[in-house]
Symmetry: C2
Subunit: 194 residues, 2 copies
DNA sequence: CCTACCGATCGGTAGG
DNA sequence: CCTACCGATCGGTAGG
């Protein structure tokens, strides 16, 4: 595990531990004392490295949001037709998810516990990301390659299928991350193509 | 709203209020005092009608689980070919979800906070339900109507797309529950057919 | 990074 | 259904 073999700052160790606990038990059910115990220190000592429990959740959620937004910008830069853009966007999304399951789960499930104004900022980033997907579907429709569908509805359906991966994916499992990406993008493209 | 116009037992009012709060803020972030305040009574008074906070969550989760299991049994009873079975199973699933968004959200998101042994019982029911879907996909493959796919993977993908509806569906929105069911079952069937 | 501690809040009970 | 209350636990601070 990274936590024990690679040298990380205490702050990063705190984030990694929190991600794991937040995924397992949820943000509200994980106490600062739980996190501290995992690191063999006292709860009060955490506050030498971080400002608050809120800060941990914020850091996790916004780091993930940034990664997702970067990856779709890259897909749009690299490709110019809708089908390849969507294929890469789906694969990158899955790569990010499976590359850090703990942080991804927190990003997907626990963002509701962000406080304002961070909560609104987060929702805005999410919306921006969904918008990029909607644009790709529109591209495909304009190119006469994709069917005419309700974009909002289609994007939410696609992203839900992708995000659910964090609920069942096991790195030791039968399917590799790439196989999942291949299957899912084929399934989705198949459903969208004319 | 049902809560004010139809006469309900106090116990049912407590469940309805809890479903709404658990959906909005999550189980852990909703206190017994929050629930009581919504009903204009003291927290201690809740305990004349229910045994514990746990009991509320259990009731919500298992009621929903029972509904889903009944609905798929009905689909299997009424139809004998895979395509019709799956179509009805999808539509019934969506009807249950949109028919009670609060309870459905709790069922989907908050079951993790069940305690043993109820947690294991719940997971078993969930697995039973997923198994019924897997059987239908197998039927379709045997009938030479559906493609050969990884059933576990396909069912999780289908259910995730269905369940995500609770995150964005608004009864006042543009799409009716039936339209969503129609679109989604067409999309899924399209992806599965040979 | 620790000891010692704070005020707030939690689920729940006793007794009426 | 309420008053009065319990022990436990929470996020966080002061001061070293």
């Amino acid at each position: 595990m990274e936590e024990s073999t690679i040298k990380l700052t205490r702050k990063e160790q705190i984030f990694l531990t929190a991600e794991r606990l937040f995924k397992e038990k949820g943000y509200m059910a994980s106490s600062m004392r739980d996190i501290a115990a995992e690191l063999d220190i006292e709860a009060a000592s955490l506050y030498s490295h971080i400002k608050s429990k809120d800060e941990i959740l914020e850091t996790i959620c916004f780091r993930m949001a940034d990664q997702f937004l970067e990856s779709i910008a890259e897909a749009n830069d690299l490709y110019f037709n809708a089908e390849e853009r969507l294929k890469m966007a789906i694969k990158s999304h899955i790569k990010i998810l499976t590359g850090d399951l703990n942080a991804s789960s927190v990003f997907i499930r626990e963002w509701r516990h962000l406080n304002e104004p961070r909560l609104s900022e987060f929702k805005e980033l999410r919306n921006k990301y969904e918008n990029e997907f909607r644009s790709i579907l529109q591209n495909g429709e304009d190119e006469n390659v994709f069917q005419t569908v309700d974009k909002k509805f289609a994007v939410l359906t696609i992203l839900s299928a992708l995000n659910w991966i964090t609920e069942w994916y096991k790195p030791e499992g039968e399917m590799t991350s790439d196989e999942i990406a291949e299957n899912l993008s084929a399934f989705i493209l198949n459903g969208l193509r004319k």
